[in-house]
Each structure stands twice: as C-alpha cells, then as structure tokens.
C-alpha cells in the first residue's frame, strides 16, 4: 500500500516548511517534496512607492535576515539613482554586513544546525537543541555565544539606526558616520569576534572532526550532490559578502561564468513546478534538466560551501588557512558534501570577524563624508550582496521620477531551492526502507535541508496552530491512517 508521510514543522514561530515523502507499495521512498507557503503580492505592495522606501520596506519581509535585505536594497538604490557612495560609507555598510554575517552564522551553528552534530544526528529529539549543546560544550561556551551575538548586534543597532530593521542606507551612502569612541568599541568587538570564531572552529574540530562516525556521515553519499556553485568574489576571486562580481564554477570547480549583478537575468532563469509555489532558479546557459546533478544540469547552489567553492579562497589570513584545511580534509575543491555547509559556515564566521576587524581598524571609516547626494534622473537599479543563506538580488524599476513600477527579488534561499529538494529526496531514499520511519531517521532527512539554513516565507510569525512536528501516514486515497507527533 502506498503511503504518504508528511513532516510538517508547523511549530516554528517564523517560517513554515513541509516535507512530504511518498512511499511505494514496498514502503520505500518513491518521491519527496519540499514545500513552503506562498507569500503574495509583494510586487503590488511595492508599486507606486518611492524607490528609497524600499530600503526600509524590504527588511520587513524577513525577521531573520533584515540586514542583508537592507544592504542589497541600498546597493540597488545606488544603481537606480546612479550614485557611488563615498569610501567611508561603503566601508560602514560592509562593516554592518560583516557583523550581521558573523552574528547569524553563530546562531545557526550553535542553535539550529549544530545540535545535529554536537548532540548527535540520532540523539533523542528532546536533546537536539541549544540546551543539549550546552550539556555537551559547557555553560561557559553558551555564555560566549550569547555575549558575542550581543556585541555584534549592538554594532548593527548603533550604525543601522534601529534595533531590528536597519534604516541607515540611503541612495549614495549611509545616514551616520562612525565616531572615534564607537570605533574603539568596534575594534574590541572585532577582536572578540575573531577569538570567538577560533573557538567555534576548535569546537567543531573536537566534537565533529575527531568523531569518525560524524565524519563518515559528512563525506557519505547520502548528503552529496555534484552541482554548479555561485558566489560573490572580489577582484582576486576571493569571497566577498558585500561587493564584487558573481562567479559560477562548474561541478569540477572550473570557472563557468563571471558576471555583474546588472546582468543576472542573462544568466539565471526560473523553472516552475505545479506542486510548488516557489520557483527553481537555474543557469540559463546550461538549461533546466530536472532535479538532477551533474554538469549537464543547470542546478546551482549558493551560501557558505558554494561561496567557498566558487572562489579562490578567503581574503583574510586565518580564514584562508581554515579554508585550505577543509579542502585538504575533504579531498580537494570543489566539495560536494552538503553537510560540509556547516564547516564552511564557521570558516565564513571567521572571515566575517576578520573582515569586520580590518574595517574597524581602517582610519578611513572615521571620514565624516558618508553620502553622495544623487543628482541624476532615477531609472532602474540592481543590487546584490551575499546574505548568510546565499546570493541576494534586488531589482527595482521606476518611472523616471523614482516611483516604483516593478520589483524583482531573488532571495538567497530560493537559489538553493532545487538543490534542497534534491537533497531531501536523496536522503529520504537512502534512509527510509521498507516503511521503517523512526524519529532518528526523519531527523537525518531533515538534516539534509537544515544544512542549507533555509529561510523561506520566514516573515510569517503566527504561532503554531497545531501540535509540533506532525507525521501523517496516508493511504493511496490520501486519508490519514496514522498520525505521529513529536517534539
């Protein structure tokens, strides 16, 4: 009898995704889907507004990564008003973005994705969370996590101008410079963040890399896809979160294309499936061949591991050394193992911290000239940054008076949507056999998507309407024959 299993994490206060796994007559997996609810009408909501408002509206789309939206929006507005921010403004923006990347990557590793490893993939559900992490790494470590996040958030609040949704970016610059006193504080925060990142990598090494069982899971075939990779790089092809060109490498690690943000539509197209509200971006030049890996398939990946794969390394010394170590251990570049996203995320945490410190130590950041006033006629603007979850594109068109007529956002996680579906299906097929669906196995299926730190439709904050994680087993007619609840 064919069965349908639904993993529906409705307990989340933000975001809401669902995994549906269909079993065949033997109880093996025939097909798995990843679905998210649709958020409607952003385009219509934006039309008729003044373009500069977009930098304040778009951060509200998402409660998780408002800073990244604010940055992409600020850059799109520079482009739209044809104005270049003064050097200090550019550096202040990158400083804020670096603080955000470090803060967000910390949260993911210790609170969200990390528990799978630190506590264990098959550990009881009740232990796989930050509390379980504390039991494993100690209370002091938890205090460090909380403390560094607070310091980094403080920078975002101070320079961003508001607690949660920053408002500092204006066309041509930022609204506030850095004072000498603040700079001293930021330098200390930067030093603390670099030290913390080292601590996090050490914890990863001790708990994960020294555990053969975990390493086997990371390098195993269950969590592996050979895809293209995309990320922003500087003029030396090093990873950059704020600026540069978009570089794509093929599954063998060779440069496939490098393009400017303004040309993104020449390189990326979106595929539509009847069962999903989300679209599946792919490389236009390769084409959509379905949810498959390989050089012949246009599926590409973004976010930490993809950024490292798509670059020639890190622009800061400590992160570069860690990056080399990862590729040594995992067998060279590119690494296709999805769970290595966690490792890459920590290397990026170190890079973000080092870059933050470099910027804070740069004298030029004190320059009071932080805004170039736009004088040209506004038309169309495209901005791109690297958000924690991948390359984020903002594209606005206006009517010549700066009033929005069209908006297109290609949000970070969306770039990974095809790969996330593939990863879930592959894990489900490998792990669920003969109808045997245990809590631990389901968690290992979830690990396939948690590695991407997905953030879809994350603006919805409604409380859970039903019990936590629900697993519905359905007969061929779709009737529920059994309901399992956990959490």
């Amino acid at each position: 009898m064919a069965k349908r299993i639904t993993i529906d994490p409705i307990t989340r206060l933000e975001g809401h995704g669902k995994i549906e796994i269909f079993l065949d007559d033997k109880g093996d997996v025939s097909k798995a889907y990843f679905q998210v609810p649709e958020l409607r009408g952003f385009e219509k909501f934006s039309e008729g507004r003044m373009a500069e408002e977009m930098a304040r509206i778009t951060p509200k789309i998402c409660g998780v990564c408002p800073t990244a939206h604010h940055m992409a929006s600020g850059k799109a507005l520079d482009d739209l008003f044809k104005v270049a921010p003064p050097p200090a403004a550019r550096k202040i923006r990158e400083l804020i973005n670096s603080a955000f990347m470090a803060e967000d990557h910390t949260l993911h590793f210790f609170f969200l994705g990390g528990p799978d490893f630190i506590v264990g993939p098959q550990a009881p559900a009740a232990d796989r969370n930050i509390l379980g992490v504390i039991r494993k790494v100690g209370l002091d470590a938890a205090k460090q996590v909380i403390d560094i996040r607070k310091k980094l958030r403080n920078v975002i609040t101070k320079q961003g101008g508001r607690v949660i949704h920053p408002v500092c970016n204006l066309p041509g610059g930022v609204s506030r410079g850095v004072t000498k006193e603040d700079r001293q504080e930021y330098i200390q925060t930067g030093k603390d963040a670099v030290e913390f990142a080292g601590f996090a990598l050490k914890a990863f090494e001790d708990v994960v890399l020294k555990n053969k069982e975990y390493v086997d899971v990371i390098v195993g075939d269950i969590y592996k896809h050979e895809t293209y990779y995309m990320g922003l790089v500087d003029e030396n092809n090093k990873v950059n979160f704020y600026d540069g060109d978009i570089r794509v490498v093929d599954p063998e690690g060779r440069e496939f294309v490098k393009f400017k943000a303004q040309d993104y539509l020449d390189h990326i197209e979106e595929h539509v499936e009847p069962w999903s509200y989300i679209k599946f971006p792919y490389l236009k030049a390769v084409g959509w061949k379905g949810f498959v890996d390989g050089k012949g398939s246009g599926v590409y990946r973004v976010a930490p591991l993809a950024r490292l794969n798509a670059s020639d390394g890190m622009a800061t010394p400590l992160a570069q050394a860690e990056c080399e170590k990862m590729y040594d251990v995992l067998g060279g570049k590119p690494v296709h193992n999805t769970l290595a996203y966690h490792w890459a995320r920590l290397i990026e945490l170190l890079y973000a911290a080092e870059r933050f410190l470099e910027l804070a130590q740069d004298e030029e950041i004190l320059d009071p000239n932080v805004r170039t006033i736009p004088t040209a006629v506004p038309d169309e603007g495209i901005g791109v940054v690297e958000a924690p979850r991948g390359t984020l594109y903002h594209h606005y068109k206006t009517n010549g008076k700066g009033i929005i007529t069209e908006v297109n956002l290609l949000v970070a996680t969306l770039n990974n949507s095809a790969a996330i579906c593939m990863s879930i299906e592959r894990a489900a097929k490998a792990l669920i056999k003969g109808g045997n669906v245990s809590d631990g196995l389901l968690n290992m299926v979830e690990m396939a998507f948690r590695a991407y730190d997905p953030c879809l439709a994350c603006a919805t904050h409604s409380l859970p309407g039903q019990m936590p994680l629900e697993v519905n087993i359905r007969d061929p007619e779709g009737d529920v024959v059994e309901t399992l609840r956990r959490g």
């Binding site: 206060l13 995704g17 609170f111 969200l112 009740a126 969370n129 509390l131 504390i134 904050h461």
Partner: protein, 155 residues
C-alpha cells in the same frame, strides 16, 4: 511587579501584525510598571529583551484548523511545545529560549502569558490588518489590557 508586554508580528503581512496593533494600543494606555515592545522577533531572539521582568505577556497571531478569525486564545508556555522541538529551523522556540535563559542565570519572568489571536490572512503583503481583524483590535485590546490590570490588582 514589572511587566513586559511583547507584541509579535510582521507589520506588512496583513493580519500577521495583529499582535503589534494590540500592543501599540496598550502602550497608549501608559499602564504603570508596564513596558511595551512591538517586535518582529521570536524565540531565542527575544531572550535579550525579556530578562529582568517579573511577568511577560506575549501577544501574537495564530492559525488553527477551522479557527474563527478574532478568537482570542489564552495560552501558557506549556502549549507552545517542548524545548526539544527540533523542527524550529529559525524559531528555536520561546520555550527553548526560556530554558536557555534560566540556565544562563538570567532573571526570567516567573509568569508568562501568551495571547494568540486567530487570524485570517497572514500571507498577503499589506500594511495593517484586514478589515475584519482591524475592527476587532479595540475589543481585543480591552480584554487583554483588562486582564493585565485585573491581575495587577489582585497581586
């Protein structure tokens, strides 16, 4: 007794912002010893703000199967799932946050009430609630603010 009222929601997703609307109305009443916050945060991200209060009141939106929009659900922390829920990808729920705060030695509010307003549409971009919920904000505010004042009298 110091009370913190936190309205949670997204102000540009129609009814999702109902908690923000109600919290904003309560703020206008300037209740003594009551602080009000309107945020788009949840779970672990709230932890930084709730320490040091005796009582925490959360006002959020909810969708239940077959629920009638405007219905006010009064919940306790226990209704929000166990701390171990692994399905929170970004939520790392409030229950976990509270447990974490306690283990870190934070002064976590002794009393936590959660008001959840049943909503109709939380997936359409729109500033402010839809007409149905918008019309109910004064009544919902009255009930929640009434509860808070009443409890304060009996303490």
């Amino acid at each position: 007794m110091k009370t913190l009222i936190v309205g949670i929601g997204n102000s540009i997703l129609t009814d999702d912002g109902v908690g923000l609307g109600i919290a904003g109305e309560i703020r206008k009443r300037c209740l003594p010893d009551v602080d009000v916050m309107e945020v788009s945060l949840s779970g672990i991200r709230l932890l930084d703000y709730i320490a040091g209060y005796d009582k925490l009141v959360i006002i959020d939106s909810i969708q239940t199967e077959g629920g009638i929009p405007g219905t006010l659900h009064e919940l306790g922390l226990g209704d929000l799932g166990s701390p171990g829920d692994p399905s929170c990808s970004h939520g790392a729920g409030l229950v976990t946050a509270i447990e974490l705060g306690k283990s870190l030695g934070y002064e976590i509010p002794e009393e936590i009430d959660v008001y959840a307003v049943e909503v109709k549409d939380n997936t359409t971009f729109h500033e402010g609630c839809g007409p149905e919920l918008e019309a109910m904000i004064p009544e919902l505010t009255e009930r929640i603010a009434g509860d808070i004042s009443e409890q304060r009298m009996t303490v």
